[in-house]
Symmetry: C2
């Protein structure tokens, strides 16, 4: 019978024994009963199983458990349940890996990924740049004008701020049409491609409609906050007939990054969201207005680009307070397969957005 | 212009000033730009605003911020974004309240709630009992037999274990039909009503279909893990034309209960899930195999039943290791408006499930 493995970093609290805690995980995430009341068939076929335990410090252990693939049967929401359903409620259990090889066919992975995005944008080597339309409350004309300035200056990807939805100030369809057109006009002037990515995050039952409307009204990609809509909603988009890349935003996901529970940073953004179909994963860069460490950021990048994971590679997209003047340093740290997402650093340029965008392009093309 | 308030418990880290941190919350959750680059119209109309700060200990503060209702416009997924989108990624910020009165019309609230459930079940005073069908891997015949034994013994509500989905061992539709019938047969024998609640948790695009199938094939309610499907999926069910109560399961929600971030226990399970349409909220009871404190559990109960919140009251449903022999003590602590969810404690009864269920009924009817 086919099984797949999940790896945990387990921290024992005072009085806890690792063997007991490990078995507790395997049972909690499968049959939810003590071994003593299970019959032999259930023990063999549906109960989770501890495969290995390896101590890594006084109180921490790497634990591998295996689960029957029949528990999930390709239902990705049920996969999340086996991954972190009830143990999300227990301290000291963090999911850090899964053996994707065994379960690869359940997941769409990114439709485009790093290579597909580079081909479609026509940018082969350098890091990409991205900015966000802000603030919420701007009219469609104001947002379209921002789009034009960013694109004419040389920003590659222009996305909605993730709080811009379908509010009366700038309803979704009209905004998508106007902003896509502004970006196309700028591209025609400069001869350099640029994309507009409207935010399609809304109630799960409407997200696919918005995804299709984004394509119909001229956008070249979309922004989605998967933790707000349910992760499988993103997977359904990635497997749909709408041919646009998805940029995933971390809104509402931060609590999954517990110090000793939830998911590791690299697993959540680099691997899990990649499996569920994100072409880009936005995360708060080290040194910005959030508190991710440099190691956590590098870990996300490595996971998103890991060639051993059997899905197209995802573009790491650090943002959240990134300073345009520090791009060369970040490029040294992160390499070329990265998207630099900048907001306030471009809005606050004394000579305006277009000049700021030109400077960014020059830096990324090594012309400064 | 109409505004609504959100209340946070804010913990200042070393070097943080509360005034700056509070303004940071209000801006992060709305315009995502510093005040210095905002025009007057935006400041007035879409930027969040700090309304009050009150120190509660050396490092903790109650902070109230207000947001324009136009930021949300009734889009519940966008409401979650304003509630805890980006600040889920920042330490020391916990959402503890919202002024539901101002935004009541956005939310369905429970369709039945405590009063509706009591009327339909015909149980006016006492606490209700609930058990779970386990383990995953049982066939439909085995599960239906469990249903019959629980119901004929006197358990009021019989739900699927939350890991039972649509696996080959017991596919959803056939299971729903067989288990509903088993419960009806038992009720006809005893003259006492009992309900079967199948688990409808799956990809968001299919959940409404399962909800309808549950009704069509004879179930009297459903189980849903809203954090796996996206919270607004639950709200859409509660507002749909399918007339069944929803029991909400906490799978995948535990990381939102940070010590100093995410949501308070009472807000998440007692208030937020109530607003989003849960007729019952399951949570891990104090003293079981999870680690909720008694105060946290009582806080959830009080919020779920709080008459000042403008939605029907939700049945608190403590479970996760509840011992049938301790029901009288829990009843003293929690009162009558509660559902006691027991699994292993009934499965492990030496004389079997039917006898265990009879004992539970006798305890709840004060006959022991």
């Amino acid at each position: 019978m086919s099984r797949f493995r999940i790896e945990y970093l387990v921290t024992c609290l005072a009085g806890e024994e690792i063997e007991k805690k490990a078995v507790g995980i395997a049972l909690e995430q499968s049959v939810e009963l003590p071994l003593s009341v299970l019959n032999e068939w259930i023990k063999e076929n549906t109960a989770g199983r501890v495969e290995s335990i390896k101590q890594t410090s006084e109180k921490t252990y790497l634990v591998e458990c295996s689960y029957a693939t029949s528990l999930v049967d390709g239902d990705l929401t049920q996969f999340l349940n086996v991954l972190l359903g009830n143990i999300s409620l227990k301290p000291g259990i963090q999911v850090i890996n899964a053996d994707w090889e065994r379960i690869e066919t359940w997941f769409p992975g990114p439709r485009f990924g790093v290579d597909g995005v580079r081909v479609n944008l026509g940018i082969q080597e350098r890091p990409l740049s991205c900015s966000a339309l802000k603030p919420i409350g701007f009219t469609i004309d104001q947002l379209a004008d921002l789009c034009f300035q960013f694109a004419v200056g040389g920003i590659d990807l222009i996305k909605d701020d993730h709080g811009i939805a379908d509010q009366g100030h700038a309803p979704f369809i009209h905004r998508t049409k106007a902003c896509s057109e502004a970006v196309r006009n700028a591209s025609e002037l400069t001869g350099k491609p640029a994309w507009y990515l409207p935010n399609i995050t809304t109630k799960p039952s409407k997200v696919l409609d918005r995804f299709r409307q984004a394509e119909d009204f001229g956008a070249q990609g979309v922004l989605l906050s998967p933790q707000l809509c349910g992760l499988e909603t993103m997977a359904e988009l990635a497997a749909s007939d709408v041919n646009l890349p998805i940029m995933a935003h971390p809104a509402f996901s931060g609590t999954y990054l517990g110090a000793t529970n939830g998911f590791s940073h690299s697993f959540l953004y680099g691997t899990l969201w990649r499996a569920f179909g994100a072409d880009f994963v936005i995360y708060p860069n080290n040194g910005g207005r959030f508190l991710f460490t440099l190691d956590e950021c590098i870990g996300i990048n490595q996971a998103a680009l890991d060639p051993l994971v059997p899905f197209a590679r995802t573009f790491p997209t650090p943002g959240g307070g990134l300073d345009r003047n520090q791009l060369p340093e970040w490029q040294k740290k992160y390499g070329n397969d990265v998207v630099f997402l900048m907001g306030a650093s471009l809005y606050s340029h004394p000579e305006g957005i277009k000049v700021a965008s030109k400077e960014v392009l020059a830096i990324l093309e090594n012309k400064i």
